[in-house]
Amino acid sequence: MEEIYSGLLRALELIAAVDPQVVEITLRSIFISLSSAFLAGIICIPLGGIIEFRQFWGKRALINLIQTFYSLPTVTVGLLVFLLISRSGPLGGLNLLFSPSGMIFGQAILVSPIMIGLTITALAGVSPQIRDTAKSLGATEMQIIITVIKEARVAVMAAVLLGFGRALSEVGVAMMIGGNIRGYTRVLTTSIALETSMGNLELSMALGIILISISLAINLLLNRFQGR
């Protein structure tokens, strides 16, 4: 207990002192996770719209599959992305392995099912009358999708924030694709794993507190968006 208490105090000191290493890791974490959420968002939100609005064979099964992938183990995604971007993989020529870009790509894949699924749920919640109104006022199919996404913007934004939260807190993709290279691909979660294994509990705790604080901030933002 004593060790935890003193570790916690030291961790708070590190945060209060604005330790450069802690700041650098935190900023990189936020940058990579935000980028992956943004990348996933620009692909998954329109894709969710198309799945919701189009009628096609196997739609229900596809939505079930997407929802199943919500809890996809991060190491499985890490392995899949590793196979894709490793030197002998189909995207090997892009040199994404062990780079922040590779981590962004991997995390974007990881959060895609959540974003697509929650976008579908959000759009399904918009009154069908909105679609009819837009259609009767002369909107094209794409304009109708954009209108409905705008109507569901709070819930769609929540999907993006949840995606960001999942990207920020995952460790599998970050470790397997980023490689935890100091000053280059080291992020909060991989640092916590490394520092704990090395016995640097104070630094681990400091990073853990920051991670929880960011998660709390995301939650507060979500609640604000949802008007709670």
């Binding site: 009154s127 009358q129 909105i130 009819d132 109104t133 837009a134 259609k135 009767s136 006022l137 002369g138 909107a139 094209t140 199919e141 304009q143 209108t147 705008k150 109507e151 913007r153």
Partner: protein, 233 residues
């Protein structure tokens, strides 16, 4: 040539026949009353005419052209010559101005070009026509039922449609709001816009419509001048 020609139009949902063998024409500039009790198929007919749903059988000619079974681009082109005001209109989560100008923006109208009126001037004019001048910046979702109905009408009128479809526009309104909408429709009579006014109020039909079509249980029972029609119920 009639603006709208409906031929042998039927609509079924599962085993239920909602509309059966409807034949109807609407001339340019006329106001046609579509009268029938609740559940007679008025809304379904308006939705079919507005190309929101597809009929089970039959066809619609708009401006002399067959519209169903055509590519979406042609349907859109026909739909953009019409506007519909629903019985319980919904507003987009935006200001009144954004709502009223929605159809113009969807048509790619950015703002005034050459000698055209600016979009904000058009919104102002449409709002004035429905008696809601100065409402531009109001949140459209905080309006009363009567105001919402009038904004929906302004949203349709701004498009200067060739055919305006009104689904019981005064059904849920207080007498004052209903009278102001009736006055507006009276002003529309004789303009280039044809109107189909679905209602269950014969008095309103006699006041506004030149002709009346009587719909009952999905069938067209009679079409004629409003003063000549007697209701079967």
């Amino acid at each position: 040539m009639a603006l709208l020609e409906v031929r042998s139009l039927s609509k079924s949902i599962g085993p239920a026949k909602i509309l059966e063998g409807i034949d109807l024409t609407v001339e340019r500039g006329e106001i046609l009353g579509l009268i029938g009790p609740t559940g007679s198929g008025k809304t379904t007919l308006l939705r079919l005419i507005n190309l929101l749903d597809e009929p089970s059988t039959g066809c619609i000619l708009f401006d002399g052209r067959m519209v169903f079974g055509k590519p979406e681009k042609e349907l859109l082109c026909a739909r953009r010559k019409m506007a519909m005001v629903f019985q319980k209109p919904v507003m987009f989560k935006a200001s009144v101005e954004t709502n009223v100008s929605y159809g113009l923006r969807m048509r790619g109208r950015v703002d005034a070009t050459g000698g055209e009126m600016s979009m904000s001037d058009m919104v102002e004019e449409a709002l004035a026509a429905v008696g809601l001048s100065g409402y531009e910046s109001r949140d459209a979702n905080t309006l009363s039922g009567g105001e919402t109905q009038r904004i929906a009408l302004a949203r349709a009128l701004i498009l200067q449609p060739e055919l305006l479809l009104l689904d019981e526009p005064t059904a849920n309104l207080d007498p004052g709001s209903a009278a102001s909408i009736d006055n507006l429709l009276q002003r529309l009579a004789g303009s280039r816009t044809a109107v189909i006014l679905a209602t269950h109020n014969m008095q309103q039909c006699r006041k506004l419509a030149g002709r009346v079509a009587v719909l009952q249980a999905g069938r067209l029972m009679a079409v004629g001048k409003s003063e000549e029609i007697t209701l079967p119920w």
